[in-house]
C-alpha cells in the first residue's frame, strides 16, 4: 500500500477507533467482568479490525457491526480457553470516595453492582441485546445488524431479556 493510502487508512481507522473504543470496551467488560481482560480483548478487537481494514482497502461496510462481531468472537474464544469461570476481579469493584456522601454513593454503587451482576448472569443473547441497546445506545436496526438477527427478533428478545433481568433483580 502506498504511503498516501496508508495515511488515509490510518486517519479513517483512527476515527473509527475514537468513535467505538468506549462502547466496545464496555461491551467486553460487561461480559468478562475484568478490566485487565477487557483491555486485552478490546486491543485485540481493534488490532484485528485494523488488519482487515488495511487489507480490504478501507472497505468495511458496517464498522460498528464488524467490531461487535469480532469482540463477541474473542470473548467466546476467551471463555473456551479459560473455562467459564464467573469471577469478579478486584479491579472492577468500585472504590468509595471518602469525600462524597458515603451513604448515597454506596447505595447508588450497590444498585449498579446488583444490575451488573444480574446482567452477567443472563444468557448471552439477552445480555448482548440489553448492552447494545440500552447501554451502548444502538438503535434496533443497528442491534439487528450487529447480532445478525432481524429487527423483529431483536425487539422480542429485548422484551424477554428485560423481563428476565427484572425478575432476577427483584429476587436478589
Amino acid at each position: 500500500m502506498s504511503q498516501t493510502k496508508m495515511s488515509k487508512s490510518k486517519k479513517i481507522f483512527s476515527q473509527i477507533y475514537d468513535q467505538y473504543v468506549d462502547k466496545i470496551y464496555r461491551f467486553i467488560f460487561l461480559k468478562v467482568s475484568s478490566q485487565e481482560i477487557a483491555e486485552d480483548l478490546c486491543s485485540e478487537t481493534f488490532l484485528k479490525s485494523w488488519q482487515v481494514f488495511r487489507q480490504n482497502n478501507q472497505e468495511i461496510e458496517n464498522p460498528q457491526a464488524f467490531l461487535y462481531k469480532i469482540a463477541k468472537n474473542l470473548v467466546i474464544d476467551h471463555y473456551r480457553e479459560k473455562g467459564k469461570a464467573q469471577f469478579v476481579s478486584a479491579d472492577c469493584v468500585p472504590i468509595d470516595d471518602p469525600e462524597n456522601d458515603l451513604e448515597k454513593k454506596s447505595l447508588a454503587q450497590s444498585d449498579m453492582e446488583t444490575v451488573r451482576t444480574a446482567l452477567v448472569d443472563l444468557k448471552d443473547d439477552y445480555q448482548e441485546v440489553i448492552i447494545l441497546h440500552y447501554i451502548n445506545d444502538l438503535s434496533i436496526p443497528e442491534v439487528a445488524k450487529a447480532m445478525n438477527k432481524t429487527e423483529g427478533a431483536v425487539r422480542v428478545q429485548l422484551h424477554r431479556a428485560l423481563k428476565v433481568l427484572k425478575n432476577r433483580i427483584n429476587q436478589a
Partner: protein, 250 residues
C-alpha cells in the same frame, strides 16, 4: 422495580469506561511504526492551518482571475460548494442557516410520499440537535430562533403522522423523546406539541382496536394490557414499541 426504573438503572452502567491512558496507548500501538511521523505532520498542519488555508485561497483566486480566466467558473463553483458545506454546521439564528434549510428542502424533493412522515420526523430530530449544540457551545443568542424552527418542524411533522404505521416511525419517535428529555435536563423549556401527542395517540388507539379484535396468545394478551396502560399515561412511544413486539411475534 418497574420497567422504566430498570432501564434507568441499566443505563447507569454507561459509567463504565476504559482508562484514558490505556485508550491512548492502544491507539498508538496500533499504528506504531508511522505514528511519530503522522503526529508530527498533523501538528504542523494544525499550527499553521489558518494561514495555510488563507494562503491557499488567495493563490487560487490569483491564478483563476489573472492567469487562467477559464478556471474562474470552477473556482466560484468550488467556493459555493465550500459555503454550502460550511452552512451545514450553521444553527438557527446564524446567517448561513437559511442556506442549510434550502439544502434540507431540496433533499426533501427526492423523498417518496411513503417516506415523507419519517423524513419530517428526521427534520425535527435535526432541530433538536441544533438546540443541543446551542447548549454545548453556550450560543444562547441563537436559542429563540432554534426554538421557533423546532416548533415549525414539529407542526410539519404532524401532517400525515396519524396515518403512519408504527414500524415506520417508532425509531424516530423514540429518538425524539430521548433528545427532548436530554435538552429539558439542561434547563431549556421545550413546549410539548399537543397536536403531535394527539397524532401518536390516534396511532396507538387504532392499533389497540386492531389487536383487541384478534386472537392473541398469553404473552401477546399480557403485552396488550401493558400497551393500554402505557396509552393511559401518555407513554405513546412505549406503547408503539410493544405493538411492534406483538406484530413481530407472529
Amino acid at each position: 422495580m418497574n420497567e422504566k426504573e430498570l432501564i434507568a438503572k441499566i443505563r447507569e452502567l454507561r459509567q463504565i469506561k476504559p482508562r484514558e491512558d490505556w485508550v491512548l496507548f492502544t491507539k498508538k500501538e496500533l499504528f506504531k511504526e508511522e505514528s511519530k511521523k503522522g503526529t508530527e505532520f498533523l501538528l504542523k498542519l494544525k499550527r499553521n492551518s489558518v494561514p495555510f488555508l488563507s494562503d491557499f485561497f488567495s493563490s487560487a483566486f490569483q491564478i483563476a482571475f489573472h492567469h487562467k480566466p477559464a478556471f474562474a467558473f470552477l473556482v466560484v463553483l468550488l467556493v459555493l460548494i465550500g459555503v454550502f458545506g460550511f452552512a451545514q454546521n450553521s444553527i438557527p439564528g446564524d446567517s448561513l442557516f437559511s442556506l442549510r434549510k434550502i439544502g434540507e428542502k431540496s433533499q426533501g424533493i427526492f423523498v417518496s410520499p411513503k417516506d415523507q412522515v419519517k423524513a419530517n420526523l428526521g427534520l425535527v430530530s435535526k432541530r433538536l440537535d441544533d438546540l443541543e449544540k446551542i447548549v454545548e457551545t453556550n450560543s444562547m443568542k441563537n436559542l429563540a430562533s432554534a426554538l421557533t424552527e423546532y416548533q415549525e418542524s414539529v407542526s410539519k411533522a404532524v401532517q400525515g403522522l396519524a396515518k403512519a404505521e408504527p414500524k415506520e416511525i417508532i425509531e424516530e419517535v423514540k429518538k425524539l423523546e430521548e433528545k427532548t428529555e436530554r435538552i429539558k435536563s439542561y434547563g431549556i423549556e421545550i413546549e410539548e406539541s399537543q397536536e403531535f401527542e394527539n397524532a401518536l395517540a390516534k396511532i396507538v388507539e387504532r392499533e389497540i382496536e386492531n389487536l383487541a379484535n384478534r386472537d392473541l396468545d398469553k404473552e401477546q394478551a399480557g403485552l396488550l394490557e401493558e400497551i393500554k396502560e402505557a396509552y393511559e399515561v401518555g407513554q405513546y412511544s412505549q406503547a408503539l414499541e410493544k405493538i411492534l413486539i406483538i406484530s413481530n411475534n407472529e
